[in-house]
Amino acid sequence: MKLKKGIPVIDQGNKLGFWGGKFGGNFVPETLKKPIEDLEVLFNKLKKDKKFIQERDKCFKNWVGVPTRFIKLENLTKHVGGAQIWSKVVSDANGGAHKVYNATVHCLLAKRSGKKVIIGDTGAGYAGKMLSMAAKKFGLKCKIFMGAKDIARQQPNVKAMKKNGAEVVPVYSGSQTLVDAVSECMRFWVANCDTTAMCVGSTVGPAVFVRICGWSTSQISRELKVQLIDEFGSIPKKLKLYNCVGGGSSSFGFWNEFMDYDKKQCEFIGVEAGGPEKSKKHAAPLTYGSKIGILHGAAQYVNQDSDGQIEETESISAGLDYPGISPLHCFLKDTKRARYTAASDEQALEAYKLVTRFEKLRPSLEPSHAFAVAISESKKLSKDTIVVVNSCGDAYKDRGILEKRLGKKYVKSN
């Protein structure tokens, strides 16, 4: 299995949509074949269309607010005493997380295809919040599917979705988290694909959704590349990019533009959710060697039992609480371009405490996982190593959990 240079990773799949010949694909009911093919044709055309790209860039610039900041975490660096720790503050983006890029592009595509309704899944609530926001901007009706457990633990985002006029549909099946929300959303699309556009909230799902999402979030690394050159005059000789990985949309977008650099110069580190230290459950299929299986239309490493039933996951972070992982990351793992590891709930909370103690930055529980590993590895790294952590979400949505786990002093009002 080989990663090709000079070709975007999203376009390295084969005719049937498999990366490395075995990850991804389109394991979908017959009813969805046509709408997926239509979306593929539209996306392949528009991603080469200068006008469409201008339209996207205008939206990103004027509405999403780009570029998001790239800042040095001076105090944290001093405290850790190793590599220079920087952060790409993607949570600056309108709505407070990277999910806005994919949501915006899906709404632009829905408009072009003449669809009036857009549906989407959400875990932490960011994908749903951004989709509801973008749908409102583009005049589309919006329906968000969300696990009942996640509705309870991510209330601020639920409120935001409703405020944007979206209908939030609680999903009570299975573990009542993201995996069930995605299933329910796909089922709704099966029954309504003639009038409705579907947005998959991460780089997961049938191949075209993986590609659209990866294409959209790559905005993050396009900005970072310019910012690195501005700051250091060139891409640093020792660069390490840390990102949390649930479905894998922010990490893929954070890395994409650096894909062709040698990994000795530019290393990618993906941090999965290891779950509570005392629990056997986790959401880290790459770290813990899960087998390849099919989930939500794509072949990927996924937590499952020997029969092929998808296993329940556990993580403090709703956004990472997913048993599978993007086919793109399976591909990056097997080609050894990226390295994957996990942080536990407890380690993520500790990292959150440390970051907020030293910096004016409040990473949500998802990027707190990435900070945990970045901080621990930075101690052993030389001072000329540039560590960049994608702070892809803001902790406002986690205030309930943080208050419960860490006490009131860690929850500042917004």
């Binding site: 009813t31 074949k33 796909m186 099919i294 092929g308």
Partner: protein
């Protein structure tokens, strides 16, 4: 030897009626009960579809989901399903059985091993919801070698060119999804329109049997009886859930419902 599925269609045609296909979930609500249901309905049903329950189904409505979760919770495993089929075949060896499920279960079992087990236990056909054409070409060939029908799904969204290609590659039986819906949805298209689509598909190759499924209940089955076969599924899952809730015997209730459905297509 002719596949018992084809024999069943022949027999129904001789009686001038569509074949009645039933779908129940293996292991719902227990292994024993699901076997007993098959035994009790085999007199009135022509072809028995047995669902392989999966916990992340992308095409099933709430009735089948409830049945599947119930079966999984009660411990059903793929090997138990083969055992149910084998035990049923001891009771009625000529009645065709089709397994219907999602590809991950087959993938984890191993395609070849799965097909060998199908052959050994007496499975006659397979429907794999999320393995569409052309992705299913290889697997369908393997099925053919074992004389197991791989049943292609056709949908109202399937384009004409695609229909022709799928039917060209298909085995003697195909399954037409009546409308855009998950299983168990309310019939939102008129039976006449469904039959119009059905006739278009039938014309492509009149020799292939086409069954219609999704949204078929006691109320609608009579209006579709000009088809080669009709599948009822969610209605049985609902009946099982209802029986359990009212502490009634699901076996008798499902059996009664099959009899009633049969009477509407005679």
């Amino acid at each position: 030897m002719l596949n018992p599925i084809s024999v069943a269609f022949k027999k129904a045609k001789q009686e001038n009626r569509p074949a009645l296909l039933t779908y129940t979930v293996a292991g719902d609500s227990s292994k024993k009960q699901s076997l007993n249901i098959l035994k009790s309905i085999s007199k009135n049903a022509d072809i028995l579809e047995l669902g392989v329950p999966h916990n992340t189904p992308v095409a099933d409505g709430s009735q089948i989901q409830t049945s599947a979760y119930r079966a999984i919770k009660n411990g059903i495993k793929v090997n138990d399903i083969f055992k149910i089929v084998k035990d049923f075949k001891k009771f009625d060896k000529d009645k065709p059985i089709i397994l219907m499920g999602y590809y991950n279960m087959i993938f984890q079992y191993g395609e070849n091993k799965f097909l060998n087990k199908c052959k050994l236990s007496g499975v006659n056909g397979l429907i794999v919801v999320d393995l569409p054409w052309p992705e299913n070409k290889n697997f369908a060939k393997k099925c053919k070698k074992k004389s197991i029908y791989f049943i292609q799904l056709l949908s109202p969204t399937t384009t004409k060119i695609r229909l022709k290609k799928i039917i060209r590659d298909s085995h003697p039986m195909n399954y037409f999804i009546s409308m855009l819906s998950t299983t168990g949805g309310k019939l939102k298209v008129s039976p006449n329109d469904i039959l119009k689509n059905y006739t278009k598909i039938k014309k492509i190759d009149p020799k292939k049997e086409i069954v219609i499924g999704f949204g078929i209940t006691e109320k609608t089955i009579g209006k579709l009886k000009s088809a080669d076969g009709l599948v009822v599924g969610s209605a049985f899952c609902k009946e099982i859930s209802k029986s359990l809730k009212h502490r009634q015997n699901p076996v008798t209730n499902v059996s009664k419902l099959v009899k009633k459905l049969k009477s509407k297509i005679l």
